[in-house]
Subunit: 410 residues, 2 copies
């Protein structure tokens, strides 16, 4: 088959999504809702970072200094969440509970107050509470906390239920439980026409969306290197005994001696406590991480000691150099067939048939509706200028060397 | 069938052992080695307290004040361990490593020193070490420890491997994976002739040995009440990364701010940390318990923070009023058919066909060879006067009311 065949041959599906974590499934779901025929490729759907994630929709409380570009995207996604979740009903476990940011000591309170000043400057609603007010909202908070801030805009969802709800709606025929080995390029080296699977077969698709988180590092044939690194996190799941329910009603995000910890209550009486950030290369649950989470969670809510610890999980999240996602199309100058036109303006023309959506780091669940919207807009031929800052080729300086051997179909 | 039939009818097996934890299997193994046909009854062998146990053979370091009777039994069992383990080869994971008792602070050191004085008075070898000496033996010990004592006589075994090794040698035909519902009595109410199983069938046995730990509370037809209570413990299993091996070579038992903690290194590079003692009625892993174990273990060996926490387990151990086992035969005065001869000396005659071996609390693994030896001696008609203090009917004051309905076979 040559390049012309690849173009004229009808694609087996409209959209192939590589990766069935929350982001990949969210994109697949939105694309399916747009009337397209979608297939998702993943050897083990929902078992990566999505399996661990606490699912906080925390655009405001997750805001960090000097991440204004990201803030625009997270706020947009928070705005999209209710409409995204509505057709999934209550199955996704989304709760409109607010968030309390709690300071362990005076220094932690000062740090949260400084952040609040910046948050307010961006128009984000953050309400300071006295310890008394905080404890009247959440009586299980320790008397020794130094202060609290209420963020009514930040909510939560249960990522495992979200994954299950979308998978159920897509149907088993829409999921290929295999590893995607490489992108398949048309003979002209200008267009991606699908993915090659672990069993050697090819899934032909009009558009291929690379949304497999850190797995994108092992996907051959990408036109640009994706600067992803694993940032590991330990996360605990606990069961609140009947006598202590509800332990907390809001999501409690704490800063304890400068370290973040969060307690996310689920509707089923369980509690998720996270999350450490480790770049030690170990995907095993860290004893020190578990210890610190339990210590700091107890500092905020002493009754955590009375809970059942029923699951400890460690997973890697896909980090990027600027903590923002790699989201969008890739300039054709990086494609295997592109002429060496070093002087051409970047993004003048994009590789056809390819969208990248990875690198969501700590924001995968929150950013899922925005990623889904942006991808489907791209499928429709619309590129929103606001999100150009997240293009996956923004770090590319030299042509990607590893794509060459996957550059052309036979 | 009447009583005479029960006596004359040949038993299906020589010995029925109820319970396939370490103790039950140890007894079954010893009885099988004596040439008897043995069957073990347990719906899930090795999944109770044996599954959690660290397996310390710690007659000396587990010695508590005023438990002299128990000390005699634990020392006897420690003496029997090598001969018991020998035919099992190295499969049982037994290690002859010594034990270090480490004090977290000065008060802990004083408590250990006081205990040592009593231990030495009983002829138990305990060698005080300076912090420098202790750290030269175990370089990973924290510099801040207050002192240490070496106990060369205390060793360890891996209870899960021990269970697997004995089960493999007994063969699948020797295990009935069912719950034992009740003892079966002969028509004269003076002899136990087997057990009734969950499926309604009866296993006839010349001797029935009740060795199912806390499960004995649910076994109907016992002639005396067994005063067992669940004492829960949380226990952690961690993996030592290659770069930190060996983390410790000895079993490290610590006293940290008055609380015991132990770290038991396995030959496979894992580490067992235990154990809390809770009587809160919860068989779920306690978040507070896990926190305290990690905190205190790190106080002794800070590098514990670098390990992988791969398993947390909670199990109940069978506690008794005097912390000593319920081990031996039961006086016939408690049997259903016994005349009301209140004036007869206790133990004058024992119920035939019945031996009880439960209530081993924290000492089940250590006491397994002694329990096995004592039971087989009883099968042989020999009762060692030294162990009369552990008779299961020592707490009985009134006839057991619950046995009546199970008193006679049809």
């Amino acid at each position: 088959m040559d390049g012309r065949d690849a173009v004229t041959h009808p694609a087996e599906v409209d959209v192939a999504v590589v990766g069935a974590g929350v982001v990949g499934l969210g994109i697949a779901w939105e694309a399916a809702c747009s009337g397209r025929r979608v297939v998702v490729v993943d050897p083990a759907p929902g078992t990566g970072a999505s399996f661990a994630a606490a699912g906080m929709l925390a655009a405001v409380s997750e805001y960090h200094y000097q991440e204004e570009d990201l803030l625009g995207l997270t706020l947009e996604s928070a705005r999209l969440w209710p409409g995204f979740a509505r057709p999934l009903g209550t199955e996704a476990g989304n709760l409109s509970t607010p968030t309390l940011c709690v300071a362990g000591d005076a220094a932690d309170r000062q740090a949260l107050a400084d952040l609040r000043a910046v948050q307010e400057a961006h128009g984000l609603g953050v309400r300071p509470l006295t310890v008394r007010e905080a404890r009247s909202l959440e009586p299980m908070l320790a008397p020794a906390i130094a202060g609290a801030f209420e963020i009514t805009a930040d909510h939560q969802v249960d990522p495992r239920r979200l994954v299950a709800a979308i998978l159920a709606r897509l149907g088993t025929g829409a999921v290929i439980r295999q590893r995607a080995e490489s992108l398949v390029w048309a003979g002209d080296g200008a267009r991606v026409v699908g993915v090659r699977l672990a069993d050697g077969s090819e899934l032909r698709a009009g558009e291929t969306i690379v949304a497999n988180g850190l797995g994108a590092r092992e996907l051959a044939g990408l036109p640009v290197p994706l600067p992803l690194r694993p940032v590991y996190g330990d996360i605990l799941r606990l069961r609140v005994p009947e006598s202590l329910r509800p332990l907390v009603t809001a999501t409690v995000r704490g800063l304890v001696r400068g370290k973040p910890v969060y307690l996310v209550p689920r509707a089923d009486g369980t509690l998720v406590i996270g999350a450490t950030q480790r770049e030690d290369g170990s995907d095993a649950v860290s004893a020190g991480g578990v210890y610190e989470l339990l210590r700091d969670a107890q500092a905020l809510v002493p009754a955590v000691a009375e809970l059942e610890l029923y699951e400890t999980t460690a997973r890697a999240r896909p980090g990027t150099p600027d903590n923002a996602p790699l989201l969008g199309r890739v300039a054709a100058r990086w494609a295997p067939g592109a002429a060496d036109d070093g002087g051409a303006p970047p993004h003048a023309q994009d590789v056809a048939g390819l969208i990248v959506a990875t690198g969501f780091f700590r924001h995968g669940v929150l950013l899922t509706p925005a990623a889904a919207r942006i991808c489907v807009d791209l499928l429709d031929g619309r590129a929103d200028e606001r999100w150009h800052a997240f293009r996956p080729d923004r770090f590319a300086r030299v042509p990607h060397e590893t794509h060459a051997s996957y550059g052309r179909t036979a």
